[in-house]
Symmetry: C2
Subunit: 334 residues, 2 copies
DNA sequence: TTGAAAGCGCTACCAA
DNA sequence: TTGGTAGCGCTTTCAA
């Protein structure tokens, strides 16, 4: 049988309250009592029951992280940073995949309200199906990724400008037939929309007519999806001069199919991605991309979340992280 | 103020126990009372407090998944499958990174014993620093990955045979100078050890003398680590005829540095990886690797974990999943 | 500085 | 089928 505060108290000859004081270390306890209690804890192998503590305190020490697709390298890097920062600050992280089922976001909000998690980090794909739309009684939540809303705290990068910058960079050598890969047809994603807007803005800045044939759709943001999409595209269309892929994973699929079809990167076509995942730098050729500090993202998210937990009524904060365009071989002018 | 069973009971004119029966749906409840209770729940926006339920039932509905390094694509794919299967079976997943700090494994065991998590899925790197060594009062735990132990349930693939098979496959065209990349010097990892053993066994089978210079060390199992390690190696050593990298991530770093140094894969050197991560298939050239069904891994792990939770005294089960050697362009004979 | 008692919200037990 | 009561293990009053 598991031992409880009572057992420890009896063994140490003190009251349960004193044991609690020793364990939590907030109230001063005399050295001799502390020693007795600690000895009893060790002898009985006492471990505080966190469910009981959670019930009593109304806090569980757990936050949840909800990402659209956990299987991708990008998710892994974000999860890694969040778990690390949360851990340093004494929180555990519960992981959820919200991908194709908006109910899972709602479940999470519900679970937060059920006191099993103290807060929520949410990366929705499309705002219109997002749980935060339910309004009303929200738990502490911070959103990441591309969402246009002002109801809850948010941390992200300026995707519009980043996409515009990348398009301009690809056009720098005089190229005009610049394609994008990753627009979404069967699902509406805020990320794809806003990056498309940035791209179109750049074309506009350059005085290049917008050609809808250069916006290549790809619903699955994984290498297999983009390899298929670009492969099909190339069977019926001329090779663009440059392709701005909406994520590095898409770009890796693109590099693969271009290699197989005998097109040289960057000689025949420039390629760029977005996210700066670890593997991108080691792609063949190394991938030009948009980078931002994922550790900083995690830190800001946790800072906002703690702030929100402390004051649920505070005005929503919108935080924009700096990004960097990293030029590598896949877009090297020659 | 949050409403409780009591509030709902009062509102519906029934007892708290009846509310509980309605919510949990285990005990039959008459249609009319059920309707009343459900109406009261809706009106009061009642949500059961999971901490209280956890305290009462002794179970939280949460399991923990501990991986050495969450930032890698491999971790992402494993986490994805575990979260999906666990979710289907009604569990939430807490994520932990145990990487370079054995204390984090111990913390987890402790947390499991503290009733905040019902079970533990553990992928230790080196058994000798693993929490399960503490013996005694373990929570339900299933280990994954390469560990030689028989104290707890385990699911993995036969790494020795897989490494031997891969080495033999690389040698099939008559190559004899076959290197491995990923042996570890500064930390002892069971995975590296057992794959090295399989490699040596294959050389023995082939009658090839074992050359320690062909065992290239790389402590960091990420592309950056292997690019650096192989880059340094090539400055002082002849290019091997084939390199068996201990993970796909290592192989991707190797492909990158070989490309930059002007070595052609597979013409000048064959490359193979291990794990079959999604990006490997789209590497340039596509990566030969060892594959296993990660969904099946997740299912077996959850099956064992549930079994262990039901019967903590059952004999430890060791489960071996089938693997497959997938030949792609990076090792194509020519 | 320490103790006693009450209660967080839920469900299991026993009764009706 | 439903109700009353007790208690999971902890911490927070209030007193001593």
């Amino acid at each position: 049988m598991r031992s409880t505060v009572k057992d420890v108290a009896a063994r140490a000859g003190v009251s349960p309250k004193t044991v609690s004081n020793v364990v939590n270390g907030l109230v001063p306890v005399s050295e001799s009592t502390r020693a007795k209690v600690e000895a009893a804890i060790a002898e009985l192998d006492y471990i505080p029951n966190l469910s009981a503590r959670g019930l009593r305190n109304g806090r569980s020490g757990v936050i949840a992280l909800a990402l659209p697709d956990l299987g991708t390298p990008y998710s892994a890097e974000v999860a890694h940073q969040i778990v690390e920062v949360a851990h340093e600050q004494g929180w555990s992280v519960q992981l959820e995949e919200t991908g194709h089922d908006p109910h899972r976001e709602l479940d999470l909000v519900s679970k937060a309200r059920a006191n099993l998690i103290d807060g929520l980090i949410l990366n929705p794909i499309a705002l219109d199906v997002s749980a935060i739309r339910t309004g009303g009684n929200l738990p502490p939540v911070v959103m990441i990724g591309e969402v246009e809303q002002h109801q809850v705290d948010h941390v992200g990068v300026d995707n519009f400008s980043a996409a515009r910058d990348m398009t301009l960079a690809l056009a720098a050598g005089g190229r005009r037939r610049i394609a994008i890969l990753g627009t979404t047809e069967n699902r509406r994603t805020a990320t794809a929309n806003i990056r498309t807007m940035g791209y179109r803005q750049a074309l506009d800045d350059l005085g290049i007519d917008h050609d809808p044939h250069l916006e290549i759709a790809c619903d699955e943001w994984i290498p297999g999806g983009s390899a298929r999409a670009l492969g099909n595209y190339l069977r019926e269309n001329q090779l663009p001069e440059a392709i701005f892929c909406f994520t590095d994973s898409l770009a890796i699929g693109a590099l693969s199919v271009l290699h197989l079809e005998g097109h040289r990167v960057p000689q025949d076509v420039l390629i760029a991605g977005f996210d700066d995942i670890d593997h991108g730098q080691f792609a063949v050729p190394a991938l030009t991309t948009i980078s931002f500090d994922k550790r900083a993202l995690a830190e800001e998210v946790m800072r906002l979340l703690r702030g929100r937990m402390a004051d649920r009524k505070r005005e929503p904060v919108q935080l924009t992280l700096p990004y960097q365009l990293i030029s590598r071989a896949s877009s090297a002018a020659h």
